[in-house]
């Protein structure tokens, strides 16, 4: 009979308590309870329908959580902001200037955005109104962002640009450049200023799917996403799980493919119900959102929102009866 070590390449760990996090298939012995424990998936990841945007739009900035998200700017109507409460989107204060290809970081009530080539303008949002902020040091579109309104990291962008800047709530400061530049995907990907993921999205440059991780001082190259899309919807953090959804995967096609990232490797997860690209992303790798974006019909933008629920892993005691 095959042993656990033969199957998994690991010995069964002897632990005094169940681990804080576990992955499906992991087995350990809990010395406190005297029981053999195993983690297994009891619920598969999937996407369900969320409330439709009031206006179908693409290339806006996005952020927040699955039950408190925002989407601002992008395609017409110009500069519009919508807020999601987990069920429906409602309109809020418009941006001072409509933008396209900008990105931001923060929450539904405290948010900072920048980018929108050829402008360097930046704006912040307080939950109801936008204010102009200190201009971003570089003119850029397709920028990446993570963090909060008071402590964010903005990086890279089309052209390609490799710059990295911190935002402290009032000013920008230069940081170490990314190893490779290029447009980032839509939606924050990372836990904060010191923990961001740059999933390169630039199409037709050979940079697709390249992943770099920011650790507060430098960028480290990591695993490559297998679906090399442009304009994917991002959500999540490095320490737990990130998800990147949809995207332009060919000059004529939009994708439903989604992948999750565990900090080093991308793996396929549940697909969107309908393909899209250049929409917004928000939430986490276990409770995320993908909304708006381009589609293949006429009009070529969608108002659809999909809500992501990650796989549920449960710990069980192994019995022999």
């Amino acid at each position: 009979m095959a042993s656990y070590n033969t199957i998994r390449g690991l010995r069964v760990k002897y632990l005094s308590a169940d681990p804080a996090t576990s992955e499906s298939g992991q087995v350990w012995y809990n010395s406190t309870t005297g029981s053999l424990r195993a983690a297994g998936i009891i619920g598969l990841a999937s996407w369900s329908a969320g409330g439709n945007l009031g206006s179908a739009r693409t290339n806006g900035c996005s952020g927040g959580t699955q039950t408190a998200a925002l989407y601002a700017g992008g395609g017409s109507p110009g500069g519009a902001t919508e807020l999601y409460n987990g069920t429906a989107w409602t309109g809020s204060g418009a941006m001072n200037t409509n933008r396209f290809g900008h990105r931001g970081a923060g929450t539904q009530t405290s948010y900072i955005m920048a980018g929108n080539d050829p402008s360097t303008a930046a704006e912040s949002f307080n939950g109801s109104a936008w204010s102009n902020e200190t201009a971003y040091p570089t003119s850029v579109s397709g920028i990446g962002a993570a963090g909060t309104d008071a402590a964010a990291v903005f990086f890279a962008g089309g052209t390609p640009i490799t710059s990295t800047f911190y935002w402290n709530g009032s000013a920008w400061s230069d940081q170490s450049a990314a190893n490779q530049g290029g447009a980032a995907n839509n939606g924050p990907l990372g836990a904060g200023q010191s923990d961001a993921v740059f999933l390169s999205a630039t199409e037709l440059t050979g940079l697709q799917g390249r992943t770099q991780i920011w650790d507060d001082s430098s960028w480290t190259n990591s695993g490559t996403a297998s679906t090399q899309g442009d304009g994917r919807s991002n959500m999540g953090t490095v320490g737990t799980s990130c998800v990147s959804a949809g995207g332009r995967t060919s000059p004529t096609g939009y994708s439903v493919a989604c992948e999750s990232f565990n900090g080093s490797t991308w793996s396929t997860t549940a697909s969107l119900a309908a393909p899209k690209a250049a929409g917004g992303g928000a939430g986490t790798g276990s409770a995320g959102l993908a909304f708006g974006g381009n589609s293949s019909g006429s009009p070529d933008v969608t108002a659809a929102t999909e809500e992501f629920t990650g796989a549920v892993v449960s710990t069980q005691t192994v019995t022999t009866s």
């Binding site: 369900s48 000059p251 019909g297 070529d300 929102t305």
Partner: protein, 97 residues
Amino acid sequence: MELFMYGTAVNTGKGFFTHEDRQDFYLAGHPGNVWVIGKNEKGALWLAAKNGVTKTHAEAQAIVDAEVTAGQTAWDALSDEEKAISNRPGPITLPYA
């Protein structure tokens, strides 16, 4: 045995399809409010509950083709600047099995 059924239904937003639906049957949305649905009892009941209209594969494909053609016409009329940030819609072939 046919694996898919086809229909049109307007995505009304929250609850239009649920996590349980996605586990119970294949579901894929396409232009023109066309849905490809796994052909089982739960899939058929879902389409009926959404006030959907059943289509043959050919009918559904024709709707999608018309939407894509309209999308291509609209895209061709865009400025070069606008074209640079979106794709010209390409043909979509609905699965048939």
